[in-house]
Symmetry: C2
Subunit: 121 residues, 2 copies
DNA sequence: TCACATGGGTTACTATAGGAGAGTTTCAGC
DNA sequence: GCTGAAACTCTCCTATAGTAACCCATGTGA
């Protein structure tokens, strides 16, 4: 395996980190964890995502081979998205992040409160 | 523990996900993993980061109680940054992400190449 | 004493990302 | 021929990320 180095500006891992660190990507992958869903179902479950961002995020994931896009010729057209094997393997690290976020929420909110009081910048 | 739900737009976990999913945050925390460093050392190791973004990222991490900022009155001033306990606990999920990125780089780059050929959008 | 170097930032500006919302396509059924 | 629903797609506009240049306090050598 080549030695990837995210600390180098030109290393492609930078782009991959951008993709998987993206807010919407985390949420889309997490939502698809339960099985395939269609566009409108994703939009409904991920509160606050715009159609544009959902389309963009899905295209990015599709491009990276992390989700598949299946069009069913019906009326109206039906489009399903599903995680690939690689996509499912991403669930684990993302879940770790999600769990960390949940676990440390309280202390972080606390720290934010204190910070605004002190902060003798 | 309260039930946090990142899929709700108003849940504060959203903000936390934004912070820890941030490209620079991942790299700064990863760089600080080896022990405390001063501002200029961080800037040198994280290729491509600007002073402004480094300052901003560090302020954010400090605000969330993930790093400490220590000013030593010397000439010129010396400022050290170090991970807190909470900050160190973040290393693990971030490392998982980094590892995932390294492991799947090849197949992702491959998928990207194929995508531009097909893609009968 | 005065220009210069050094570390750790700000400031001012520009480029890109993202949001709101209207418009588009496709095709069965009325 | 018109309607309606799903899944986009486009336009406009604001907010955030990013870049480059400047600032400030202090010690040093000429």
């Amino acid at each position: 395996m080549v030695e990837w180095d995210p600390y180098d500006r030109n290393c492609p891992t930078r782009k991959v980190l951008d993709r998987i660190g993206d807010r919407w990507t985390v949420l889309v992958v997490g939502t698809l964890a339960g099985g395939p869903l269609r566009f409108s179902e994703l939009a409904a479950r991920i509160d606050g995502i715009s159609q544009k961002m959902l389309t963009q995020t899905l295209r990015g994931l599709e491009q990276d081979g992390l989700v598949t896009r299946t069009v069913t010729a019906a009326v109206p057209v039906r489009v399903d998205y599903e995680l690939t094997t690689a996509g499912r393997s991403l669930q684990e690290p993302l879940k770790a992040l999600e769990d960390w976020a949940k676990e440390h929420m309280a202390s972080i909110l606390d720290a934010r409160d204190r910070f605004s009081v002190e902060a003798p910048r």
